[in-house]
């Protein structure tokens, strides 16, 4: 039998029994597309969250006051002893380290903000000019906090877009005086909409110089210090030196926690990878169901076609030829179903991306390969197995059906 004839024969038998072919393609493409969409969803979520972390800044070391450890004696709090505060002096000591590219102290608190007769409760961040660069933020209008001695309180503020809208409405905000608690701050800049890190909406922040924040909240303690290393390689060394520097300043006591962005990221990444595998597992189940569907349709199809096999034998078809005929059919069906499934899955991920633009849903390569592999394998195996059995029958028995 010629290759062209074989292909034509198989294609004709697919085209001329459209119901069966449609069901097979449906089963196959649903299985494949389910895997593609579900793993794409998990993968998209993972990438979204990793992206969020990356926007917090790379090569970042975060210094937190207090010591978190699971070994050793009773926590300091229970002993009635509070950890020492992180201070601006600590921050200044850290900036003198040659491994540090830049660092920013951070104070966070809530305060009532008022302009005219409008008032609302907002989150106030006290920091220095470096904060903008470390956090990759941008100023829409005006400018960010001016550089200078961090221990000098200057009554200026940079406000988020949403705050501007809510308190100033259509009025000019730049140059106006915003009331925070019992102090007044001149608005010198408005934050751009870019940047929304880990649930903190930059559009709802008011940023003031750190010394002003200390005065406003009446506390010398920093919330944390963000330190950006010069290079990725120097980070472990830098962490060590930060601990030592602060310990020296705190009477030899190591009472801070130093974490890297990467460590936090890695933890999340692991969790999210597990999530992808979970959705992938759900996809695999749907693929298995599709496989069983394919198997059933193929079994029914072959038992319907036993007479045809008998006839082909009667007019001289050899056993190998019969297997080849059914194999070609199954290959065509499997590849068509696979391609259709990928297409459907791709449309599905596009739809998800359309509904949630933040989610870049893209199925990982291994999931696509597994989906295609399993569906074509079931298609092939269950296409050929019953056909082989029918081909082994005596022609006269097959003819009777």
């Amino acid at each position: 039998m010629r290759a062209g004839d074989l292909a034509r024969f198989a294609a004709a038998s697919l085209i001329r029994s459209p119901g069966r072919t449609f069901l097979m393609l449906l089963a196959m493409s649903i299985g494949v597309s389910a895997v593609v969409v579900l793993t794409g969803l998990g993968e998209g979520a993972r990438r979204y969250i990793t992206g969020e972390f990356a926007s917090l800044g790379t090569n970042l070391v975060i210094v937190i006051p207090g010591r978190s450890e699971t070994t050793g004696g009773a926590p300091a709090i229970m002993a009635g002893e509070t950890p020492r505060d992180l201070t601006i002096e600590d921050y200044l000591a850290l900036t003198r380290n040659p491994l540090v590219k830049q660092a920013a102290p951070v104070m966070v608190g809530a305060a009532g903000a008022a302009y005219g007769r409008l008032e609302r409760e907002i989150t106030v961040v006290g920091t220095t000019s470096e904060y903008m660069k470390i956090r990759h933020m941008a100023v829409d209008r005006g400018k960010f906090l001016p550089p200078g001695d961090p221990s000098r309180a200057v009554n200026v503020c940079v406000i988020g877009k949403k705050i501007r809208q809510e308190l100033f409405g259509n009025e000019q905000a730049l140059g106006e005086w915003l009331r925070l608690g019992d102090r007044r701050f001149r608005v010198i800049g408005i934050l751009g909409s870019s940047g929304r890190s880990l649930g903190v909406d930059l559009q709802e922040l008011v940023i003031i110089p750190v010394a002003s924040a200390q005065a406003l909240f009446n506390s010398p303690g920093l919330f944390r210090i963000l330190v950006e290393a010069r290079s990725r390689d120097s980070m472990p060394r830098l962490q060590d030196q930060i601990r030592k520097t602060v310990a020296r300043r705190h009477q030899g006591e190591e009472d801070i926690t130093v974490v890297t962005q990467d460590a936090v990221l890695a933890t999340f990444d692991n969790i999210l990878r597990a999530l992808t595998f979970t959705v992938g597992g759900i996809g695999a189940i749907s693929l298995a169901v599709a496989g069983i569907l394919i198997m059933n349709i193929m079994l029914v199809a072959v038992s319907q076609r036993v007479r045809e096999i008998g006839l082909l034998k009667a007019v001289g078809a050899r056993r190998g030829q019969l297997t080849l005929i059914f194999l070609s059919e199954a290959v065509m069906l499997a590849s068509l179903g696979g391609v259709l499934g990928l297409l459907l899955g791709y449309l599905g991920t596009l739809a998800i991306h359309g509904a949630y633009p933040d989610l870049d849903a893209q199925a990982p390569g291994w999931a696509i390969a597994a989906a295609l592999g399993v569906s074509s394998l079931t298609g092939l195996v269950f296409g050929i197995m019953p056909a082989r059995r029918a081909a082994a029958m005596e022609a006269v028995a097959a003819l009777r059906g």
Partner: protein
């Protein structure tokens, strides 16, 4: 020439053994026209299936054109079926999704004959059987008589030496039946060995040699 020696065919039905063919000895000369008659269950169809290599005898020897075919492998038997034997069935056994042309072409496709040659051979045989205008109809668009003639075209497209017909008129009205018998006899006149299994005494009588079977044995063998 066909020689059958001591052919037995035993079916196992439940725990009972049915002796469908009981020690058959038969010699058929090339170009003979033979009819096989007998009551239902007498083994005439079984004999025909064994002659056509569609079924295997339980024991005995079958020589077709100086070749012992009982001991051939499956694939070798398939080749003999394809090239030397044509089969016509009571229920036509056309592939329903294929056109008349494609059904006739099927043995040529399986044998790997190039398309141009196929078109010519199928066209010629359809013309001989007056079916040219039906070439692209599917079996469900054809009458029974037309279907059977398509089946005959398919059975003879490979120029076999032996044509076996199992109740070829059994499913047709008398006029179509007569047409089909005429076609078969024309082919026999062209030199092909023709064996017809039939219930119809009228059809059976026309053969030059008439066999009668009862309970798996040949009880009558008359010629002329």
């Amino acid at each position: 020439m066909i020689i059958l020696e001591g052919i037995n065919r035993i079916f196992q039905v439940g725990d009972q053994q049915v002796h469908a063919l009981d020690d058959i000895h038969l010699t058929i000369q090339p170009g003979e026209y033979l009819s096989l008659m007998g009551p239902s269950g007498s083994g005439k169809s079984t004999l025909l299936n064994i002659l056509g290599l569609l079924d295997k005898p339980t024991s005995g020897r079958y020589v077709l054109e100086d070749r012992e075919v009982t001991s051939l492998s499956d694939d070798e038997q398939a080749r003999v079926r394809g090239e030397r034997i044509g089969f016509v069935f009571q229920f036509f056994h056309l592939v329903p999704r294929m056109s008349a042309f494609e059904n006739v072409e099927l043995p040529l496709v399986l044998a790997g004959v190039p398309p141009a040659q196929r078109r010519e051979r199928v066209g010629k045989i359809l013309e001989q059987l007056d079916l040219t205008d039906r070439a692209h109809h599917r079996p469900d668009q054809l009458s029974g008589g037309q279907c059977q003639r398509i089946a005959i075209a398919r059975a003879t497209i490979m120029h076999p030496s032996l044509l076996l017909a199992d109740e070829p008129t059994g499913n047709l009205d008398s006029k179509s039946g007569a047409d089909v018998v005429q076609v078969l006899e024309q082919l026999n006149a062209g030199g092909i060995t023709l064996v017809v299994v039939t219930h119809d005494a009228e059809v059976g009588k026309r053969a030059r040699r008439r066999l009668r079977m009862v309970d798996g044995r040949i009880v009558e063998d008359e010629a002329g």
